[in-house]
Amino acid sequence: MTTPLLEITNLHASIEGKQILNGVNLTIMPGEVHSIMGPNGSGKSTLASVIAGHEAYEVTEGSILFNGIDLLELEADQRACAGVFLAFQYPVEIPGVSTKFFLKAAVNAIRKYRGQEELDAMDFLDMVEEKAKSVSLNIDLLDRNVNEGFSGGEKKRAEVFQMAMLDPLLGVLDETDSGLDIDALKIVADGVNQLRTQDRGFVIITHYQRLLDFIVPDFVHVLKDGVIVKSGDKSLALELEEKGYAGIEACKSECSCA
């Protein structure tokens, strides 16, 4: 039997004493794309942050296995090295560090962890050029400081570009579509689709069905009050679009969700 890429069991998490996740169960097999939808405050971003290892969140119960290993035992940087990538909802600006400089540190840290040889400047720059093309990212942008002076669209594209550079096994996209116009959305989606392989899985967190027209998910889950209340295929996203989250709540009693 294939080992699940990600296996979240009964996950409870809180921040500053406030309980946000109340028993999330989610299994992702290699190659699958899962979309998590849900109203504001339902815990979507918390779930992403907990997977990535944000220290402000405390896991109070439950487990996360990543490729069979206990993810909660790993620090944020070790998780990234193991193959977890989080595309931030709000990518952080870092004045004083050029994007290339930062990415070289990241790529080589991960290669070192995986026992691969570190890239020299030439090979690194070749890789940058190739991956930047895949998300139509202007390469001059990479001489600028990390995310500094980037437009909203450029920031999100840069996140997908970073994902391509770091070659993760699991990509978690936290509202990568927010603030994007339709053209930028297509470019970002196209970048993600190019990264879809039979080994790599994705968690796509979004408010709107629109992104899922371009990144077609295998499964859609609705998160509400910190638990997954309904799961289905891509048609669930369309249903949500039509009925809203309130409609889902109404059906909660009559369908066997989660």
Binding site: G96, V97, F102, K104, A105, N108, A109
Partner: protein
């Protein structure tokens, strides 16, 4: 060996004055300073970081003609002072040492290297006079290096006159031994539509006082007084500025930032004075510190003295630890915690060095910064 004519009793009570209340240099009053007449000049070549540029070298305040490269517009004179320093109320002693005078437009940066060295404590002065006539541009790099771990005291005094439409840039770096005292001053007088930028970088020294006195005597002056420091064990830096807006429509900026490790201490005092009728002055002062350790401390004293109505003066000071959000972002990309911290400290300081255009000097300063920075070697592996 001759004893310098320095009355070191002046240091005894300096800290009793308001301007020096956070910086105690009374230890200097108990030291017998000397000035070796014979000095080893072999070390100079290693500090000749811009071999194509004009180069003026002093060792213990004595001009080294054989090692220097003098260009047109540069001269070395005995016992000369400009008249700008006399306008301020600096308490740093001024000495009669030879001075460098720089005039005329220079295509490249003039490098003035001041080395203080000896196996006994040395006290010496270094006087530089920069005069940019109308429309001229002068760029000056001052490197002040104390070698040998003695309680040397070096008192450099640079006076700048920037006439109408002229442009002067000075990068002063204090490097080398962490045992020496450095009591330096920059005195700047600006005329109409002139631009002056100074950048004071403190990486060495036990106790470093950097004074800037600026007089914006014409309309539309542009002035940037910036500073950066990275200090560790037992080091103190005191950046002390007074910027006088004497005519309307001047823009001045003071921007000082630094990182303090162990029990290092930073003092920042920025006084902006706006004279009556110096309307539409735009003056800004900022001091940002990152402290890496609970024992480090910062004191920021913004001071505004404003006698005109239509002015914009702002001040701000921040002292904090490393940005946790940024740290998490770097770590979420696989960069280990220590390396991520180092990268963020480097980023914070490098932002200040980024503005230096002269690559040769920049490279040396970045290199010294990395040597002082815990884990700095990691940054070297990232160069492309």
């Amino acid at each position: 060996m001759i004893t310098t004519a320095i009355d070191n009793s002046v240091f005894e009570k300096l800290h009793k004055t308001e301007a020096w209340m956070f910086t105690n240099v009374s230890a200097l009053s108990k030291i017998d300073f000397a000035c070796p007449s014979e000095v080893d000049v072999s070390v100079i070549a290693t500090h000749d970081i811009a071999p194509e540029n004009p180069f003026v070298v002093f060792v213990n305040g004595v001009f080294q003609e054989g090692c220097s490269r003098i260009a047109d517009g540069i001269s070395v004179n005995a016992d000369t002072h400009g008249d700008i320093a006399a306008r301020g109320d600096s308490l740093i002693p001024r000495g009669d040492s030879s001075s460098v005078s720089i005039t005329g437009t220079h295509a490249v940066t003039v490098h003035v290297l001041q080395i203080v060295t000896g196996d006994v404590p040395v006290a010496c002065f270094g006087n530089v006079i920069v005069h940019a006539a109308e429309g001229e541009s002068i760029s000056l790099a001052e490197t002040h290096i104390a070698l040998t771990d003695q309680n040397h005291v070096f008192m450099p005094c640079t006076e700048v006159v920037a006439e109408q439409n002229s442009n002067v840039t000075i990068v002063r770096s204090i490097r080398g031994s962490k045992e020496a005292y450095h009591l330096g001053s920059l005195h700047v007088a600006q005329h109409e539509s002139s631009t002056v930028q100074t950048h004071t970088i403190t990486l060495g020294g036990k106790c470093v006082r950097n004074e800037v006195y600026a007089y914006l005597d014409g309309e539309h002056c542009e002035s940037n007084f910036d500073g950066m420091y990275m200090l560790g064990k037992d080091q103190l830096v005191d950046n002390h500025l007074r910027v006088e807006h004497n005519e309307p429509k001047g823009n001045s900026r003071e921007f000082y930032k630094g990182v303090l490790d162990e029990n290092a201490k930073s003092v920042f005092t920025g006084r902006i004075y706006v004279k009556e009728d110096a309307h539409q002055t735009d003056a800004k002062q900022t001091n940002q510190n990152i402290i890496l350790c609970d024992d480090a401390s910062c004191t920021a004293r913004p001071q505004l003295e404003i006698y005109a109505d239509d002015v914009l003066c702002t001040h701000g000071a921040t002292t904090g630890e490393i940005d946790e959000e940024a740290l998490l972002y770097l770590r979420s990309r696989g960069i280990p915690k220590d390396a991520a911290r180092t990268l963020l400290i480097y980023a914070f300081l490098n932002e200040s060095l980024d503005e230096l255009t002269d690559d040769g000097f920049r490279t040396v300063l970045v290199d010294e910064l990395l040597s002082n920075l815990p884990g700095g070697n990691f940054i070297r592996t990232l160069y492309l």
